[in-house]
């Protein structure tokens, strides 16, 4: 990772040249692509990250089911190379889709019909040429919002002070690499990553970041690439502890794990986006008693929840004793607790009681 733009262009060239060679030698043109699926993903204990294995599959031209995808792969590769060479502004992956979608002459067929076709191919190319989408001048839309004591110099030259972003907070830009998002100053003691915007919003209005001297970030549910990359930078470059505040249910747990160990689909991105030191600061089953959460705030676990709990149990990165115990105990408890529901205790409960108590007593799940 971290290859130069010239190197990436060269990689794309090589990819094209190999296919040309196939053609000139009368062979079935092929592309080799690392498999991005659960069966080619493993949990690396030494780094604490989910990583991509080395299983690959070939995409052939003379295969009725693959021919179109083969063509689409080359079209996208060519377009990415052109974008980099021309020094054009970064495009969203939807915009890229539109630059490539066109009618194939002499037919009623389009090169691409919808974005579902182009998105996975972009990821294919990322792994093929060992690049990150951000380096390829392609952006996914970030959803993240940030506040707290950090000063950043934006690519535009503007200086951003995240203590002065008001009640809405500051947006996380699509690309948070150093040349786009240069961290000038940061006096925070830790980062609090909040699963839901509503909870983040309440904490921000109460200026929790000021009381706790922390950065307050939300990815609004499943985080996009930019939020994950930002957490990774703050955790590795500034050595800030990361606490993930999520729902007490398997979905919340999984969001925590995406920040911490990475995701299956983007396993190749884990090293750039993971934060192995991150800790779960959300509700634990024993907290229900500790904080005397009223029964009215309990939500019964549905079948999908129970099924998801079983899936989490089987992920290698959830195989620590404390997580296995917690998953079992959640199942036994039979209910989930949403982070929003803590306002039932009192509006200030989360900021004034819950979080300080957790941090002071180091009551985390790891």
């Amino acid at each position: 990772m971290g290859l130069t733009e010239e190197r990436l262009i060269k990689n794309l060239q090589t990819m094209g040249k190999r296919v040309l060679e196939n053609i000139n030698q009368g062979e079935n043109p092929e592309l080799e692509i690392l498999t991005r699926a659960l069966n080619n993903v493993y949990y690396d204990n030494s780094t604490g990250l989910i990583k991509l294995g080395d299983k690959s599959q070939k995409r052939y031209y003379f295969n009725v089911n693959q021919a179109k995808k083969f063509m689409q792969t080359l079209l996208i590769a060519d377009r990415i190379k052109w974008l980099m060479e021309q020094g054009k502004p970064a495009l969203s992956i939807r915009q890229l889709f539109y630059t490539l979608k066109h009618n194939i002459p002499g037919s009623k067929e389009n090169t691409f019909d919808n974005q579902d076709e182009s998105d996975p191919i972009i990821e294919d190319i990322e792994v093929m040429i060992d690049a990150l989408r951000e380096q390829l001048k392609l952006i996914a839309t970030p959803k993240g919002v940030l506040s707290g004591p950090i000063m950043v110099k934006d690519k535009t030259g503007d200086l951003l002070d995240y203590t002065k972003m008001g009640s809405a907070g500051g947006a996380v830009p699509p690309i948070v690499e150093d040349d786009f998002f240069h961290i000038k100053e940061c006096s925070a003691d830790f980062i609090l990553v909040v699963e839901k915007f509503a909870v983040w919003n309440l904490l921000n209005q109460q200026k929790y970041w000021k009381d706790a001297n922390c950065l307050l970030l939300t990815g609004k549910g499943q985080p996009a690439r930019a939020e994950r990359r930002l957490v990774n930078r703050l955790s590795t470059e500034l050595k800030l502890p990361v606490y993930v505040f999520a729902d007490m249910d398997p979905w919340g747990y999984y969001i925590y794990s995406v920040y911490k160990q990475g995701s299956i689909n983007l396993a190749f991105f884990s090293e750039k986006s993971g934060a192995p030191q991150a800790k779960y600061i959300g509700f634990m089953t024993k907290d229900v008693k500790t904080f005397d959460i009223p029964k009215s705030s309990h939500i019964k676990l549905e079948n999908v929840d129970l099924k998801r709990i079983e899936e989490l149990k089987n992920y290698d990165w959830f195989k620590t004793k404390e997580w296995q115990d917690e998953l079992k105990s959640l199942k036994d408890f039979g209910n989930k607790i949403e982070q929003d529901s803590l306002v039932a205790k009192s509006i200030e409960f989360t900021a004034k009681e819950y979080l300080p108590y957790k941090i002071e007593n180091k009551e985390f799940l790891n």
């Binding site: 060239q13 296919v19 000139n24 659960l38 031209y61 190379k81 839309t141 499943q222």
Partner: protein, 553 residues
Amino acid sequence: MLKLMKSDFMTIAKELAKEHREISVAEFFERNKHLLGFENLQKSLLTCVREAVDNALDACEDARILPQIYVELKEIGENRFKIIVEDNGPGIVKKNIPKIFAKLLYGGKFNLCQSRGQQGIGISASVLYAQLTTGKPTKIYSRIGDGKSHVYVLHINISKNEPEIISEETLTGVNGHGTRVEMEIKGKYIKSRLSVNEYLQQTAIMNPFAQIIYIAPDGKETEFPRVVDKLPPKSKNIKPHPHGVELGILIRMLRATTARNIAGFLTSDFSSIGRTTAIKVCEKAEVDHKISPKSITRSEADKILDALQEERIQKPPTNCLSPIGADAIREGLTKEIHPEFVATLSRKPTVYSGHPFIVEVGIAYGGDLEKEGNISLLRFANKVPLLYRQSACALTKSVTQTSWRRYGLKQSSGALPQGPVAILIHFASVWIPYTSESKEAIAAYPVIMKEVRLALQEVSRKLALYLSKKRRSKYQEERIAMFKRYASEIAVALSGLTGKEKEKIEENMMKLVEEKIKKLELETEENSELITEDVEETEEKTEDKFKENGDIE
């Protein structure tokens, strides 16, 4: 030429005559004309043409002459037509002309053979119909090759059922042979379904050895050409098989026989009975085998009939049948429909109720056939098209009961299949088991249904094979077009990636596609696939509930 059918009418007519002497043949006809094909103007026109054409074809075939038939319809007034039918048959000897055309139910023997004539009551009924509806006599020209032409103008004496000769003359210095009939009737002309044109076209399909020229009322001439130069085998007369007779027929045969005793009658007047069997039958029926057939009473005849049915008797000979054969059916379908695919089949003779029969089928695809809607079903009995009462017919049921989807055709359950297909079924027998007197639908004897079904299955399998081959080759073409289409796009992309000339890449790419196609076609013939169909190892979607990365804007 007598058909058994006619003798049935003879029985009815005679019995009617006994009981009610005052009822004339004309009244009998008037009362029963719906049974004889004259229930409405449209059908009456068709029936008159059909009787004349069927007779002409039978006469030619009997005399081993390749038929050449001329049919002309002239509209001479509102719902009034002149019908002219002329053939190149052997002609009719002078003395027989009046009776054949102007005496209802004229005939003699009990022998059976496969002929068209079973269809109706015969040409004399048409002559009577003409007389009753327009009052005009029928004119006959007959040449038997002796240089003369006998011309008769005939009426039927209705009360006596005898010919009434209006005029007769003999022309000399005339060449060739053949018969020409001219009559004037009330009728209604239509062009589409159930029309004279449809009847003639189907006749042309089933009789490809005949040339038929048709002048429609609008003056338009249609030629149905001869495409086969060989007549079907001549059908031999056979005597009735004991398992195929009914009491009425048996009684009449007993009256008419020249045999001196009953055992002799059974061996000489029936097929497949030897003397030993004959005596055994008499014993079982408790009838002295030495007595004269003329002295047999009705109840004795009944017992003899029962004894005959119980006795195991050899199957009847099948040389009485005259199938047209798979090749001729193919020729017939091809010349009239111009299909892209035809399969035909002529089954071996089989027997139902003592009557030998043969089923012949053909299936045609494409060509002039309508792409949408039901298939065309062409039913024939002894080479004569059956146009009416399609849904009541066993031949139709055999088609609707077949599951056509497995043969690549659309079909709603219990209905005819759909698509550009013609299915031809020919039922040939010395005795056609019609469901009713109208003689348009064949009865559903299980053995007949089974024969038709087996025949259909065999030709349909061939059609299915053809259709799947056709679909496959269409699929191949689509694939080739796809590879070429994408190749142009790939050339652009590869040129961008490598900086090489786009035209050159495209050229090489096309060359590669051509090469792979050649190999592909070669291997397809061996029924294998070069181009792999294996599905790319399915990319397992992550089990995450939420879509990661927020990629979709």
